[in-house]
Amino acid sequence: MRSRSCRKHARLALIAACITATLACAHAARGEGGEPRYFAITNARIIPVSGPAINNGTIVIAKGLIQAVGANVAIPPEAWVIDGKGLTVYPGLIDAGTDLGLPRPEDSSGGAHARKSAVPSEIASGPEDRPGATPWRLAADELKIDDKRIATWRNAGFTSTLTLPDGGIFPGQGSLINLAGERAGDLVVKPAAVLSVSFKPIGGFFSFPGSPMGTIAYVRQVFIDANWFAQAQPVYNANFTKFERLPYDRTDRDVNNSLRSNEIVLLPANSSVQILRALRLADEWRISAVLLGAQQAYAVTDILALKKIPVLVSLKWPERPKDADPEAEETLRDLRLRDLAPSTPAALAKAGVKFAFYSDGLAAPKDIFKNLRRALGAGLTADAALRAFTLDAAEILGVSDRLGSLEPGKIANVIVTDGDIFNEKTKVKHAFLDGRWFEVHEEAPPEKPDEKKPERGGDFPEADAAVAR
């Protein structure tokens, strides 16, 4: 792989090839202190996003941060220099909603607990039983660096994701991570980035909450209780003899911590009806809400702009269900939604609503870009799309002081491409994460499970999983 990449990068200066050789494996080199920490990409077209493009500029990366960007920039003597002629430099892209890095349900290697823990195994008779509430879970604490998608996403130009826990009504808190590191902890940029809420009933008919109105009532009661807890605790602590003992409730405590720190609350809302409902609830609950989904936002851009509520737009556009009865008549409403959903980003941009994109379970980055191109075809400008994938995502998630643009002092999440980032033919040539250079691999065809060697046996849980499938 290494030698092939060297050939392909024939345009690079010899020195860049040397980097490649030195960094046969960036991981291995890291611990030995041999990894370069200074880079300069020269003669490149630089798109800082925070400012105008620089047609023939240099960007200097030093010890994990961007040191300088501009047309005339001093190159530190210790820097590895990459000739960026014909290349374009962008801030790394942010996928603002995925389970990337988290064990997936079918993954038997210790992930089952992490994902299923929030789903109630017992009958809940009301909010007081706290069904499906694990707001203390941090995605950051459950990361598995062996998720192959980390490299796949990185190779496509994504350097950060908002990784969201799943399961239950309060599944936990999403973490903003960088897609590189030797240990799970290395990845984490902001552990408690968002508090996730789901309105999807989990109880069926016999357990609470079994209806959307049940989940709303539940979330409402939890927010009330969390506030009450904060109010009552100090009074009780100062007057033990006066009051009945306060109950201890981990959900109250952790939701309250999130609310007090003004953490973003992610409210799922896809249709215009759900969006308007979520806006009302956000007002009622006085939370810093960000909407998740928002595919029919094209119909309600005015109020989103008025309320200044940002949205994370799912790039998994609605499709005719693959297993749909071919004879079944489709409603005009569904057809309209499928036709117009990709126009949402353009409509949001026009209305001045801040938005970012998320992959929402799409299997591969090429699907992300394919679907993005539908939004571009529906009127979204490439500039606005790039902002949504970088600086706007960082601003929405409260990390624009660290990420999202090519500016001195920001974390050096930088990608270098051989063309326009959203062009299908464009290839990512280099990726820097936290200022570390990563070899970019061609996307390998997906491995067929039956090609795995079952005799590797119990020592290799992945192989087990493959057999089990």
Binding site: I123, F205, P212, V235, V273, L281, E329, R338
Partner: protein, 480 residues
């Protein structure tokens, strides 16, 4: 919640959005109509003047002021908008929160879905207002809301302004979960008997009283300036029950049998709350005096029964008999389909029980308006009331009557003529979208084939027609 009737009207299914409406004219005159006012008789060749969404004048010699939009209703009939006192339309997701025996923390108003096509279909049947109820899976169910069927408006524009909110209660078999059980291994929910249903209601109101006391006590001490007080924890389950005790929220109680009706009347009396309506109340005719004495109304079906054991002892005379004994009676639908012909359901009480035409009409207009506490604004054609009106081509109590226009707040929300006229364009749009999608899929497939040019695959495709089996199938297929 008794059974589901699904009648697909595919043409109307097409309608994803309300028909294009002209900007609401401020002044409308409906003229030359037979006006069934409900409160003051029938006016032949009469006119109704609507100004700013309200009825401004009704009579034989009302003239159109300058600039008024005139709807000529010659040969047609106008009645007040139909009020459906028991509906489950316009709700996102399950109408039952079935887990807790007392699910009063949930609120239908939170999940109103203004895009539910049933709103439009019911409008087409002349319904302008509906009491949207929680299901009957719990002795005390969720909070309920009265809405106007303002098709095309947002969820927060549906609730009937000023109407008191309600709460659903349920007696008998449904709250016992007697017709279905939890999955194996999970315990059945309490209550499992009719005794238990009563006990759950008593227990809940006992808690609600205590809860109210806690708050009263806290507020009193706080007002007196006492320091270091802990406010009680707000309990969304008990708050609506306190409102019931304070008569700020109506109780709509699902019931069938005479014994359970009497049970709830006794419990209500004991705890000092009122049951606003007994819903279904199929055996109401047996205890009509007691219902009347309790001050509750009865909201029943015309002739729908025997769909389960507890609904057997019913008669189509129920509405008329209850009315005769002084109960305020309405006929409801409990069904998005039946709601489209509530006029006919009301008319059945003329055959069964000899109600007058006007009394029959009251069952779906003024009476439910009173039951829902909105008779100051709806339920009859009187000056000052909301211009919620239906125009029929025939006498609305005849089987030939088809709603032509339905108005809410003086705005035309359903117009049969416009609906029919709009259908070809909608069908055309639909076909165009299907075609567009098909084309896009084909193009994508082509594109993908081009970019994944795998030599093996190509060979495979080329080989195919050469297989003898394939080609012969092809021939025989083509020959058929």
């Amino acid at each position: 919640m008794r059974r589901l009737l699904t009648v697909a009207i595919s043409a109307i299914t097409l309608l994803a959005q309300p028909p294009v409406q002209a900007q609401t004219p401020n002044v409308i005159l409906i003229q030359n109509a037979t006006i069934l006012t409900v409160t003051h008789g029938t006016i032949e060749h009469g006119s109704i003047l609507i100004r700013d969404g309200k009825i401004a004048a009704v009579g034989m010699d009302v003239k159109a002021p300058d600039g008024a939009t005139v709807i000529d209703a010659a040969g047609q009939f106008v009645i007040p908008g139909i009020i459906d006192c028991h509906s489950h339309i316009a709700v996102d997701g399950n109408v039952n929160e079935g887990g807790p025996a007392v699910s009063s923390m949930v609120n239908i108003a939170d999940v109103l879905n203004p895009a539910d096509i049933n709103i439009y279909r019911d409008l087409a049947g002349g319904v302008t207002t509906a009491n949207i109820l929680h299901g009957s899976a719990n002795p005390i169910g969720g909070q309920t809301v009265v809405i106007k069927l303002r098709w095309g408006k947002q969820a927060n524009q549906l609730p009937f302004e000023g109407a008191l909110p309600g709460i659903k209660f349920a007696l008998g078999e449904n709250p016992k979960h007697s017709n279905f059980g939890p999955p194996a291994g999970t315990p059945a929910r309490y209550p499992a008997t009719r005794l238990g249903v009563e006990e759950v209601i008593r227990q809940a109101f006992t808690e609600a009283r205590e809860y109210k006391k806690q708050w009263d006590d806290y507020n009193r001490r706080k007002a007196a300036g006492e320091q270091n007080l802990l406010p009680p924890r707000r309990d969304l389950r008990l708050e609506p029950l306190v409102e019931v005790l304070e008569r700020k929220r109506y109780v709509h109680a699902h019931c069938y049998r005479a014994d359970e009706i009497l049970m709830l009347a006794r419990v209500a009396k004991e705890f000092g709350f009122k049951v606003r309506t007994f819903q279904h109340v199929l055996e109401g005719y047996k205890v009509a005096d007691e219902i009347a004495a309790s001050g509750a109304g009865g909201s029943t079906f015309s002739d729908w029964w025997a769909y389960k054991m507890e609904a057997y002892d019913a008669i189509p005379y129920n509405a008329a008999l209850m009315q005769e004994r002084g109960v305020l009676v309405s006929i409801n639908s409990d069904s998005a389909e039946e709601a489209r012909h509530l006029n006919q359901e009301a008319a059945k009480s003329m055959k069964y029980g000899d109600l007058s035409a006007n009394d029959a009409l009251k069952l779906i207009t003024l009476n439910p308006a009173i039951q829902l506490g909105i008779d100051n604004r709806a339920g009859s054609i009187d000056v000052g009331k909301d211009a919620d009106l239906v125009i029929y081509n025939h006498d609305p109590l005849s089987v030939y009557a088809v709603a032509q226009k339905t108005l809410i707040d003086g705005q035309v929300y359903f117009d049969r003529e416009h609906d029919l006229a709009a259908r070809p364009a909608l069908e055309k749009e639909k076909q165009a979208l299907l075609e567009k999608e098909k084309k896009a899929a084909e193009e994508e497939k082509k594109h993908e084939e081009k970019s994944n040019k795998s030599p093996e695959k190509k060979q495979d495709q080329k080989k195919k027609p050469l297989k003898p089996g394939d080609s012969s199938e092809g021939v025989s297929g083509g020959g058929r």
